[in-house]
């Protein structure tokens, strides 16, 4: 299919981990078998708590990390094993925006130099007009070209990071926690900017974030990750209004809502996310799940359609029924 910008097939990423020199190296299953398709024009929100593997998945998708197993297809081409020079054309199609603009911008380079880096990586000399256009796209102006990162506020720096990602006119932007380092008032500006760019340039996004409210604001489709796997996936409205996986349900119920006095049915999960070094057998969530039964420990459940929708899928033996049935 030509409108598939990104197709991840059973992607796994394991990391080696060393402790004291006299201890055995262990392997961390950061991403443990993920299938994900991103189509043209859509924004996929990848949510999960720390250790869920969402950031690792983003880095594998942009080929910043090599997958341990599985296939990464970008624009219909298998790029899993591509490296160096042969990866360059791929970099034009998919770009990454990082969490901490402070850390991802070289403090010794002017904005102009930072923005021309992606061009030079492709062997192109950008014109000043091109750079100015980039800046204007993200709400900055020509006068900012000669300045250095420290002269900008956090929000402006993130705009520069986005401008740099836009330089090669990619179809897909993978944003890893793009607003989590920003103040609330600034965060909203950047979220609006992302929405504007999507409309103007027809961009697609993979938005990785721990903040479920942020993701709801921008994403069309949601994938909820837990311990390296996707446990629920579907259209944003369906996932948020009628979560099928107990984890998604608990996660959503835990988010505080700015309405004092309104009591919510909160599912307070016990314990913490287990370590990805030695994940539980069967369903990874069963150790904290309020619905867990013996069967959950047997085999890992696969994503299956729930609530009569083909697009809304959950990996659970006992998915929540649709909202209409719950009310009865």
């Amino acid at each position: 299919m030509s409108d598939e910008l990104l197709n991840l097939k059973d992607v796994k990423k394991y990391f080696g981990l060393r402790g004291a020199p006299w201890r055995k190296a262990q392997s961390v299953r950061a991403v443990d078998g993920v299938n994900l398709v991103v189509r043209k024009g859509e924004t996929v929100g990848l949510v999960g708590e720390s250790g869920s593997g969402k950031s690792t998945l983003a880095r594998v998708a942009t080929r910043l990390l090599d997958p341990t197993q599985g296939r990464v297809e970008i624009g219909g081409t298998d790029v899993t094993r591509l490296r160096g020079r042969r990866l360059r054309p791929i970099r034009r199609q998919i770009q990454m925006v990082f969490q901490d603009p402070q850390a991802s911008l070289n403090p010794r380079q002017s904005v102009g130099t930072i923005l021309s880096t992606p061009y030079r990586a492709q062997g192109i000399r950008p014109t000043r007009a091109q750079l100015v256009e980039l800046l204007e796209q993200v709400g900055l102006a020509e006068q900012h070209l000669e300045r250095y990162p420290h002269e900008f506020s956090g929000g402006q720096r993130q705009r520069i990071g986005i401008a740099r990602a836009l330089a090669m006119k990619p179809g897909l932007l993978v944003c890893d926690e793009p607003v989590s380092a920003l103040d609330v008032s600034v965060q909203a500006q950047v979220l609006n900017l992302l929405a504007d760019l999507r409309d103007e340039l027809g961009l697609s996004y993979v938005l990785v974030a721990h903040d479920l409210a942020v993701v709801r604001q921008v994403a069309d489709r949601i994938a909820v990750m837990y311990l390296g796997t996707i446990v629920e996936e579907g259209p944003a409205a369906q996932v948020y209004e009628a979560p099928a996986h107990p984890y998604t349900k608990a996660l959503l119920s835990a988010v505080p809502v700015p309405e004092p006095g309104v009591s919510r049915d909160r599912i307070v999960l016990t314990g913490d996310v287990p370590t990805p070094i030695n994940p539980p057998s069967g369903c990874p969530f069963r150790t904290r799940c309020y619905k867990a039964e013996d069967v959950c420990a047997t085999e890992r459940p696969v994503l299956e359609p729930v609530q009569g929708s083909t697009e809304h899928r959950a990996a659970c033996y006992f998915p929540e029924p649709p909202t209409s049935e719950r009310k009865q």
Binding site: S153, L212, A213, A237, L269, D272, V273
Partner: protein, 331 residues
């Protein structure tokens, strides 16, 4: 409101730096009563964390603190360090944002909780250790007697924050200052920790000062709210005043800028243009004026005259520092 246990009046904190004097907190007042929670809300550079450090007397030596900090009516500012030391951790305790860095990696968590106890009680190490285990158990650390010998890095983020809370509560303090206690935690763990804080507060009648940028958390646990902007109070009132009757354009902007998980997304979030000012850049007039959408309706005054907290007629103790007489949403 009951008799406040902690009162802060006209608190000013000025840092002397190489670049000159930087006022970080520029005259704020607040009070908190036993069993109550006051939330101090603000963005980076608003002075909210500096205020709490000033209350604890924990600011570096280049900070000049003036005003009044009264604990049960006793002035803390200017108290000799030895006297202050007896109050810290005993009458006023603190919970920090990042439990991993707040705990000493070289000592077992039991030792660290016991140390907090021994610093204020003349007891044997063994007794203090027992007390530590008791406290760790109370904050929900399973198998506390065994886990007490563990080191901070062996605990998960949520469990570490429980340790920090146990350490803060071990002396049964009258005031607990929680500086972004859940910001570093995952949302499911955040829910557990906020629940724990509410439980212990109810049990011990602790007065809590919650410093947070997360309006959701504030809405759930606070009784009163102080909104800070550029080292000053922008608005002060009950939690309902802020969320249902916000009177300052900045508070209103914050609420509008916050994406919500519980309702379908708005087409666009309302935004506040620009960014929060860095401390020290405060001029005459209203610090929020350059970003304010309502300044046109007031005019010159916003630039020339600094607005003071003024009571909102008919709304009890609800106060806002804005020249716009009406509520922004009514304009």
């Amino acid at each position: 409101m009951a008799e406040p246990v902690l009162e802060v009046h006209d608190l000013h904190v000025t840092f002397s730096t190489e670049g000159g004097l930087v006022p970080a907190v520029d005259g704020i007042d607040f009070a908190v009563a036993p069993g109550e929670t006051l939330a101090i809300v603000g963005e980076s550079g608003s002075g909210k964390s500096v205020s709490s450090a000033a209350v604890m007397g924990l600011l570096p030596s280049n900070a000049d603190v003036t005003g009044e900090v009264l604990l049960d009516g006793r002035e803390l500012i200017g108290l000799p360090n030895d006297e202050l030391r007896k109050i810290r951790g005993n009458d006023i305790a603190m919970v920090f944002q990042d439990a991993l860095s707040a705990l000493n990696p070289y000592y077992s968590v039991g030792w660290q909780v016991a140390e907090a106890y021994r610093l204020h009680h003349d007891v044997s190490k063994k007794k203090a250790h027992q007390r530590a285990i008791e406290m760790l158990d109370k904050v929900g650390i399973p198998d506390a007697a065994r886990r007490a010998d563990g080191y901070p890095h062996e605990f998960s983020g949520g469990m570490r924050q429980r340790v920090v809370i146990a350490m803060a509560l071990v002396n049964d303090p009258r005031v607990l200052i929680a500086d972004e206690p859940t910001t570093a935690l995952d949302v499911t763990v955040q829910a557990q920790i906020m629940q724990l804080l509410e439980d212990v507060q109810a049990e011990f009648g602790t007065a809590m000062v919650l410093i947070s940028h997360d309006l959701g958390v504030v809405a759930e646990v606070a009784d009163d709210v102080l909104v800070m902007y550029a080292g000053r109070a922008a608005e002060r009132g009950t939690v309902r005043d802020l969320f249902y009757r916000a009177a300052h354009p900045y508070s209103l902007g914050l609420l509008g800028a916050m994406p919500r998980v519980d309702v379908p997304p708005k087409l666009r979030l309302t935004t506040i243009p620009g960014s929060p000012p860095t401390p020290g850049s405060i001029t005459t007039g209203c610090a929020f004026q350059p970003r304010c959408a309502y300044t046109d309706r007031v005019g010159e005054r916003c630039i020339t005259e600094r607005p003071e907290l003024t009571p909102r007629p008919g709304e009890g103790d609800h106060e806002a520092a804005c020249h716009l007489g009406r509520r922004p949403s009514d304009v």
